[in-house]
């Protein structure tokens, strides 16, 4: 009697649950083909980025730490770093490689926090999202300005890594950022006779410059 009751009860519970599951898988399948999950991913990333830069009470260092965390979670840093080396991808030694990965991350954080700091209370509207093959997606969006400036187009190139989307590249009014990065990184290595250390020291120098730039920015603002 007791068993019957339990079975009964669990069936009663299971039916709607099963329905939910079916619905959810259904939704998941549709979104996979239309790029809806890519859209919501970009929505989430931009919301977080905007909240980081809108927090005006935060110091530059706090902003950088927040931004670094966002980047670690949402950008495919290894792939970006690998891409940026172009034909020199296999030239670094394991030590150079790990140093490079560390510097590149720091460099990107410094550069983009500096660049993003100019944005205030802007809004990002997603225009469209579509799959590119089965592992990549392109999400097109626009930054709307509150001061009546022309909107700026931003395209996101996402790549699926272990089920989750990660940012691979961002196109701002026609310029792919990772591509620009690759072109300069390879140029440095090429112009130093293929010496990978030249890139590392350039990166270190640039990180230092970005820091110096922040200081002068702050003193200019005061």
């Amino acid at each position: 009697m007791i068993t019957t009751l339990t079975t009964h009860r669990s069936r009663w519970f299971l039916a709607p649950l099963a329905l939910c599951m079916a619905l959810m898988t259904g939704i998941a399948q549709t979104s996979a083909s239309t790029g809806d999950d890519a859209r919501s991913f970009v929505d989430d990333v931009s919301e977080r980025a905007i909240s980081i830069i809108s927090e005006k009470s935060a110091s530059k260092a706090e902003m950088e730490a927040e931004f670094a965390r966002l980047l670690d979670e949402t950008a495919d840093m290894d792939r970006i770093a690998a891409f940026a080396l172009g034909q020199y991808l296999r030239t670094p030694t394991p030590e150079q490689k790990s140093e490079y990965l560390k510097l590149v991350r720091e460099f990107i954080v410094k550069v983009y926090v500096t660049r993003l700091a100019d944005y205030n209370d802007e809004k990002l509207d997603i225009l469209s999202a579509k799959m590119k093959g089965d592992k990549q997606a392109i999400v097109r969006s626009e930054i709307k300005f509150t001061n009546g400036r022309e909107p700026v187009s931003v395209d996101w190139w996402l790549v699926k890594d272990g089920g989750d989307y990660k940012i691979f590249d961002v196109n701002v009014v026609g310029v792919w950022l990772a591509q620009e990065q690759r072109s300069t990184f390879t140029s440095v290595i090429r112009n130093n006779g293929g010496d990978f250390n030249a890139l590392l020291s350039h990166l270190r120098k640039q990180i230092g410059k970005a820091e110096a730039g922040e200081i002068s920015d702050i003193s200019a603002a005061n």
């Binding site: 991808l89 190139w157 701002v172 310029v175 410059k209």
Partner: protein, 272 residues
């Protein structure tokens, strides 16, 4: 991400020749082009790099001692409405060149916009000092003969950086020269030893430099190789301008299996 102004700015110090290059970022559909694809181009196509770098440094030197100080002064002394009036006036003056190129590209709608803008802004806009046409749904766009050649699938050619002019690969240098012939003002001052064209060129350069003071500083500060950054940005911006802002996502490189551990060949073309 503040690349917007970055993009707009870039054209400026480095290319005083084509006003509002970067402003052609509008999304109007246009014919897709298969211009030299910077993205798939693993070689840099820059055989004269040492010379180009020399001129690049030369321009940077003159920028530091002359153009930038003058632009900073202009930015500080002339109030914004004045600067906008000058910008509008210069843009309006360029309308015939833009119109000629709209037509040569078969962009009839854009040609109509350019012609209407010229009519409206020259009259209602008081000889082009104001831009009422933009408020009436006809925003400014720019064209030049380099872009027109691009729409005819003419390749950019090897990179070239010239003193004063900035990035001027053969296609765009040709375009710059041809555009002079589309400009009625060229004929007005043909036999004259007038300074007007020179003043126009200089004011245009100063105004554009003034509009990009922060952005260009930022680019210089955040690039590992300033020359290479400018070269790449120039190519990407031009490609985008030729396509009138229309993006082609199908010719992006294959990155599916790209990482440090892939066991592919070292050949640049194989993995990218």
């Amino acid at each position: 991400m503040a690349g917007i102004a970055l993009v707009a700015a870039l054209a400026l110090t480095f290319a005083l020749t084509a006003p509002h290059r970067a402003m052609a970022a509008d999304e109007e559909p246009a014919m897709a082009t298969s211009d030299t694809d910077a993205y798939n181009d693993s070689g840099e196509n820059d055989p004269l790099e040492p010379m180009n770098r020399y001129f690049f440094e030369l321009n940077k030197f003159f920028d530091t001692i002359l153009l930038k100080p003058v632009a900073t002064w202009y930015d500080g002394v002339v109030p914004e409405p004045g600067r906008n009036g000058i910008r509008n006036f210069l843009d309006n003056l360029r309308s015939p060149v833009i119109l000629a190129n709209d037509l040569l590209q078969g962009e009839w709608d854009r040609a109509g916009t350019t012609a209407s803008r010229f009519g409206i802004n020259t009259t209602v806009g008081l000889l082009g000092l104001f831009d009422p046409a933009a408020d009436w749904g006809m925003p400014q766009h720019s064209e030049d003969f380099g872009q027109t050649l691009g729409t005819y699938d003419v390749a950019e050619g090897p990179y070239l950086f010239l003193p004063v002019l900035g990035p001027a690969p053969p296609r765009d240098l040709t375009g710059f020269v041809v555009d002079q012939f589309f400009d009625p003002l060229t004929y007005i001052y043909w036999d004259d030893s007038s300074d007007v064209p020179l003043i126009r060129f200089a004011v245009n350069g100063i105004d554009q430099r003034a509009r990009s003071l922060d952005t260009l500083d930022q680019i210089e500060r955040t690039s590992v190789d300033h020359y290479a950054t400018v070269r790449n940005l120039y190519r990407q911006i031009r490609k985008n301008e030729i396509a009138n802002g229309k993006r082609d996502f199908d010719d992006l490189p294959d990155i599916d299996n790209l990482n440090f551990d892939t066991n592919e060949t070292d050949s640049p073309s194989a993995s990218f």
